[in-house]
Symmetry: C2
Subunit: 330 residues, 2 copies
DNA sequence: CCAGCGAATGAATGCGGTTTCATTGCTGTT
DNA sequence: AACAGCAATGAAACCGCATTCATTCGCTGG
């Protein structure tokens, strides 16, 4: 392995100068710098990052902790984080917690030892653990808010509202809500928005609670049956996956989408476009959230830059929504 | 920040002993060890990984370089790598090359500086670059073979063969092949297997070349049209995504799957089960491949352990395949 | 013409661990 | 009783780089 001293010796300068030539080019004479750079290249010198990290106290890495890298939205967050980190010259240490709330803290703490700070995606850990982690080093939350910790979240209430307005405009007067897990922060948020919107902003709209469901495709059958029984003419789902499941079940029971029942999802996963019919859904900007999280973590911007980002969501209307009962449409 | 010296001082031992108590517990007296461990815990000591890496020359990290973390199979590989790495006490540094062959080498080289070795997934870079990278540190290839470099690949020929046997057994005599990108190593491999099997192992089976296509859903329409025009009664696709696209296009033209045409995919992405009809496909063990790659990289096993893994694939028969022309079925 | 200044460089130190080597104090053997 | 041998520990030397501080040298300005 060729070290900086080797380069320095070969170039006829001191290690200090060699170091400067590489890392602080403008404090060294042009001729010297070029000589050092050239011999470094010739010798195939590669800086030892561990040594650099030790000397500067700066690892040049950030951590990314998420429940499941195979989930489309976490993968998208990872994509955003990776891209932004590269732009800023940082490397990304990734850790999958396998949806295990108990492991989550341990894993994150171990990651924190190696990096400048960690990005926690939809963390399930307790608030106390969150704060303990924050004591170990910088932390940024994605899709969760807690205390004063920096976070990036989404304006899902606006998305819910938009969806409801769309549905109402199409003539629907009774829309079902297929909820997510009871423990999910975002499920609670959506329910309260639903009630608020139906009660105040939109006239004569009835929300029917279709229960809590695991956010997976197969939950669709129970949810679809409940929807069909409820008399709702439109369904808003916690998740694209369950929306897709609902559609499938509806179709296999001979109920047409959107002619008989309209379905709206959440997330806009890649497959939403490819489904039949293509899914109307509230698109959540996962990748931009990843980028924003990196910016928050690395403090790009002034010392007193905002500590919270709330990203706008976007209702994308495709073909799983259509006119409601005749006579209602505007 | 609390260092090892702080712990040592507080415990009344030398830094050397403190270090041993933590990292090499059996060479230190029980009483001493416990005292050190306790004070370390009390002080909230966390080892500085950079310092450890510098001293031991061992970063405890491995690199994972892949073209696109949002692709289901790369995500699965990542999952496997992450899980196995954690079992072995390593952290994983991830880098997404954004499908950019030119960036790939640069990114991998930069990753190599920080880790013990890197796992390259479906690398597009030249053989020369591959070897240059290997000179920088240990390298393991996934889904590609090159020179003597350690690799884990898949026995796709067996999968192709299985699929063909299934189709022939169902009475199909003319099956189309929807190919992948011209540059893909695995496409070439499949084509030659196709020819070999059709020519030698299975009687009276005709393979019709349906051209090269980008491995995405939307390629399905061109491929489906070509298939319909070719008179083939079954189609084998490079990819689940194009298989799904083919099915969609076929259906929208009023051609039924599998009654009129059978379709077989490759990969078994999560959505293959959820499609209508559920897709018959050759399942590739991506996550196990990730695990195997880690084992190869970290040299779990004897010094002269095998340097190549070739994992078995598995044809999973679902509902996109059915009987061919009447009278042929066995 | 010389004091004084700034640019360029080198010597030395530290970052926080690990590890070699030497030292100390015992136990057990002859 | 003396000594070999071993277990437990400490002192000190790195690991490879960044950085502070001191030094040298060529210039400028009074």
């Amino acid at each position: 392995m060729v070290t900086l001293r080797d380069v320095a010796r070969a170039a006829g300068v001191s290690p200090a100068t060699a170091s400067r030539a590489l890392g602080n080019p403008d404090v060294v004479a042009v001729s010297t710098r070029e000589r050092v750079l050239r011999t470094a290249r010739e010798l195939g010198y590669r800086a030892n990052q561990a040594a650099r990290a030790l000397a500067t106290g700066n690892s040049g890495m950030i951590g990314l902790v998420l429940p499941d890298i195979e989930s489309p939205f976490f993968a998208s967050i990872a994509k955003g984080v990776d891209a932004r980190a590269r732009e800023l010259g940082s490397a990304v240490l990734i850790a999958d917690t396998e949806e295990d709330a108990a492991l989550e803290f341990e894993i994150a703490a171990r990651v924190q030892e190696r990096v400048e700070g960690v990005i926690l995606c939809s963390p399930r850990m307790s608030r106390a653990h969150l704060e303990e982690l924050a004591a170990l080093g910088p932390v940024v939350l994605v899709n969760r808010e807690a205390g004063g910790l920096p976070s990036v979240s989404f304006d899902t209430p606006a998305g819910v509202r938009e969806a409801l307005v769309l549905l109402h405009g199409l003539g629907h007067r009774s829309v079902g809500y297929v909820g997510g897990p009871r423990s999910a922060w975002s499920d609670a948020e959506r329910r309260s928005t639903l009630d608020a919107v139906a009660g105040l902003e939109v006239d004569g709209l009835d929300i029917v609670d279709l229960g809590h469901h695991r956010p997976v495709f197969s939950s669709g059958v129970a949810a679809a049956d409940a929807a069909a029984a409820s008399g709702a003419t439109a369904v808003l789902c916690y998740n694209d996956l369950v929306a897709l499941g609902v559609i499938r079940r509806l179709q296999s029971r001979g109920i047409r989408v959107p002619e008989d029942i309209s379905v709206v999802g959440f997330d806009d996963i890649p497959f939403a476009t490819l489904a039949a019919p293509p899914l109307t859904t509230v698109a959540v900007p996962w990748a931009p959230a990843g980028r924003a999280a990196v910016d928050l973590l690395l403090g790009t911007g002034r010392p007193q830059a905002p500590q919270h980002f709330r990203l706008a969501v976007d209702l994308v209307v495709r073909d799983s929504t259509g006119a409601g009962p005749a006579g209602n449409a505007e």
